[in-house]
């Protein structure tokens, strides 16, 4: 059977009770529906005992995406789940990069990007944190140059409706 490439990127925001196993349930539901997850982030909300989770994934079919949202919402621990409208929500991520840069390079980066230096080893190896849109982080890393990057960690998306 031919598989079609899933290109439509979606974000689902779910709010749930902070009970053990709920992440397992959501990820196994997504696996069962044969959807590949791009990113998952979860964090406690202002309300004690309640966690918010942002999932990004690729799925072309609107029906399948809606079905997934409904099945996530059906899980006993999940209080609400919805697909975020891409144009009506903010998507952000954080990256921490370890890279080599001389002071001139660093100065150039500083002119174009907002980042925070977390550590500076031997003056030449920098650990920096940058937050923003996915595109912005991509640009930041491109500007450093792939041959200069030692290691990168990206958080995955967190999102909020306007």
């Amino acid at each position: 059977m031919m598989t079609t490439a899933q290109t439509k990127r979606r974000a689902i925001l779910a709010v749930m009770l902070d009970r053990s196993g709920v992440l397992n349930k959501i990820s196994s539901l997504i696996r069962r529906k044969m959807i590949n997850v791009d990113t998952i982030t979860a964090c406690p909300t202002q309300q004690p005992g309640i966690t918010s989770m942002t999932l990004t994934l690729r799925e072309n079919s609107d029906d399948k995406a809606l079905q997934l949202v409904r099945q996530i919402e059906k899980l006993t621990e999940v209080i609400s789940a919805k697909e975020l409208d891409i144009d009506q929500s903010f998507w952000r991520e954080v990256a921490i990069a370890k890279f080599e840069a001389d002071s001139e390079h660093l100065e150039r980066l500083g002119r174009n990007f907002n980042f925070e230096i977390l550590d500076r080893q031997n003056h030449e190896v920098i650990v920096a944190q940058v937050a923003g849109t996915s595109q912005m982080i991509d640009n930041f890393l491109a500007e450093i140059g792939p041959d200069k990057i030692i290691e990168v960690a990206r958080s995955g998306f967190t999102a909020l409706e306007k």
């Binding site: 196994s28 409904r70 059906k74």
Partner: protein, 575 residues
């Protein structure tokens, strides 16, 4: 109090009468406490799967009775719990409430591959409504109460409570408090919206009033919400034919003039043709399973769809709805049956058309039933089931296994009593009937219960003859023995050029087996023995077994081939 005492207290507070199970190392403390208190009737199955199907029997048969709805089974850790898996997966497919309590190894050794340790929570999670592992003694009662609430509320389903052995043995301290009377589960995310939206109902009624060729699809939800009477009233008032899903059967008498019988893969010609030509499908408490719809791309045509369903994730899942009513089917039908806007229309052309469908294979079918003998000279299951239906007046309870005989029961038994038909539908678990019938009989002790299996399914849980013997369960066992796995054989006949791969079976001497368990037995090989044998079984006090030698060449038609649309239904055998 000790953990074990709290487990029993919670079950007693929920009105549990019967516990089905099998003991072992990690559940021993709970069994020990049961022995001390003697507070439940304990039925020992001979395999944990049997215990879970027995508990299902309680859950399925107690709808509308005073008996508590959720059956309870118990098993030990590791293999004990794993043996429950099939019946739990079966329960979630058939929306059957069920509580399974499993012992687990002590918390100190969990996740160290301890003796008889399995990751029960991990395994059960995708096949249950909810899975729990209380990690302190003061969580036990609350957990069981929440589990029972979740199992039964909204769309039913199984729940598992896995209790580590050390937690079972922990003692509460003086500050422990739990009041079952005032307890309310804290589940802000639990979806349950039983009350139908009035506007949607109004829109639905307008659509129904306009429809020239409507059809009602009566699903399991009509039975579980005890809405058969209101369904009948609604259908009679608006003059709409009714087709049943496998689990919708016995919601109303199946020979009602508006009934078209079962719909779907092995549905009647009239139900399937009606579904092909309808302009409005009104679906109650069902989920448009592939055995109902056939190929979805070919389903429904231009028909509009009104879908009444308690589980919102079922709406628009397989079939796009015109009007979705996410509500308790019983509540929706109560409103619809008494709706003043609903008009009765004769729909003469539609009903004339339905009569044409009805007569399409009527004569040929009747002729086959009357002949009673297949091409290989043995008995036809159709004929046996028709005789059973005649003798019982369709009033007895039928617990079918899975396969050809199940479809034949669904087609030829004249169900008269509300909620009198039990079987494994969604999962299609062979071997369900014998243990399920045990639970059904205990939930409905005053009714006659027939457990009907093929030779394949019967041998899958044959060990439960032991439970039937020990606890003197009065079940009439009918064994349709054709020496094959009949339904697969039928597919092989129709679609695999008659190559019978893995379907023929050399069977044991069932008379000797029956005798070994002290169950009286009759063998039927000839047409004229059928009636007398069934009457003997019916009249006997206690379990009884009748083995019928059935014709392997019998097939059940019509049949919608897998992957085909309902229009591709095979109506008669190519010879």
């Amino acid at each position: 109090m000790k953990g074990t005492e709290l487990v029993l207290k919670a079950l007693k507070d929920k009105g549990v009468k019967y516990i089905f199970g099998y003991t072992g190392g990690a559940i021993m403390p709970i069994f020990d406490e049961m022995e001390k208190q003697k507070c439940f009737e304990f039925i020992m199955s001979r395999h944990e799967q049997g215990a879970a199907f027995m508990a299902q029997g309680i859950s399925r048969a107690s709808v509308g009775t005073s008996h508590p709805r959720t059956g309870v089974c118990m098993a030990t850790s590791g293999p004990g719990a794993m043996n429950l898996v099939t019946a739990i997966a079966d329960a979630i497919m058939d929306s059957c409430p069920l509580l399974a309590i499993t012992g687990q190894v002590a918390t100190g050794v969990i996740a160290t591959d301890a003796f008889q340790e399995s990751d029960v929570v991990g395994v059960m999670m995708p096949i249950t409504k909810q899975t729990y592992m209380p990690l302190s003694v003061d969580k036990i009662e609350e957990t069981i109460h929440e589990a029972m609430y979740v199992a039964l509320t909204g769309r039913g389903g199984p729940v598992v409570v896995d209790i580590p052995k050390d937690i079972q043995l922990q003692e509460t301290d003086a500050s422990y408090q739990f009041n079952p009377e005032t307890y309310e589960p804290e589940l802000p995310g639990f979806l349950y919206s039983p009350v139908p939206d009035r506007d949607r109902i109004r829109q639905a009624v307008a659509l129904i009033n306009k429809s020239e060729r409507p059809i009602i699809l009566c699903g399991h939800g009509v039975i579980t919400s005890t809405a058969g009477k209101n369904l009948q009233k609604f259908a009679e008032k608006a003059h709409i034919p009714i087709a049943f899903t496998l689990h919708g059967l016995s919601a109303i008498p199946v020979d009602h003039p508006l009934s078209l019988g079962m719909v779907g893969m092995h549905g009647t010609v009239e139900a399937n043709r009606a579904l092909l030509n309808t302009d409005l499908i009104i679906a109650f408490g069902m989920r448009f399973d592939d055995r109902v719809t056939g190929n979805l791309d070919l389903f429904g045509g231009d028909a509009k769809v009104i879908h009444v369903e308690i589980d919102p994730s079922e709406i628009d899942k397989n079939v796009k709805t015109s009007i979705a009513i996410n509500a308790d089917t019983g509540m929706a039908l109560n409103i619809l049956a008494n709706d003043h806007e609903l008009i009765s229309r004769p729909r003469r052309i539609w009903f004339e058309q339905l009569d044409v469908y009805r007569s399409e294979i009527r004569e040929a079918t009747q002729k086959e039933i009357d002949t009673g003998i297949g091409t290989q000279g043995e008995l036809l299951m159709k004929t046996i089931v028709t005789r059973l239906s005649d003798i019982t007046g369709g009033k007895d309870i039928i617990v079918g296994d899975v396969g050809q005989h199940q479809m034949i029961l669904a087609r030829y038994y004249n169900f008269q009593t509300a909620n009198s038909w039990f079987t494994s539908g969604g999962a299609g678990t062979m071997g369900c009937s014998l243990p399920m019938a045990v639970g059904v009989k205990l939930a409905r002790p005053d009714e006659r219960v027939w457990s009907i299996s093929g030779d394949g399914g019967f041998q899958m849980n044959i060990q439960e003859l032991g439970a039937i013997m020990e606890h003197k369960i009065d079940v009439k066992i009918l064994l349709m023995n054709n020496g094959y796995l009949g339904m697969v054989r039928q597919w092989q006949t129709l679609f695999y050029d008659g190559r019978y791969a893995g379907t023929p079976m050399k069977n044991p001497d069932f008379e000797a087996i029956s005798g070994a368990y002290g169950i009286p037995y009759l063998k039927v090989t000839k047409l004229d023995q059928i009636e007398a044998a069934l009457k003997t079984a019916a009249g006997h006090k206690g379990a009884f077994m009748v083995e019928f030698l059935c014709d392997p060449s019998e097939i059940i038609l019509p049949m919608v081939p897998a992957g085909g649309g309902i229009g591709d239904m095979i109506v008669s055998r190519r010879t």
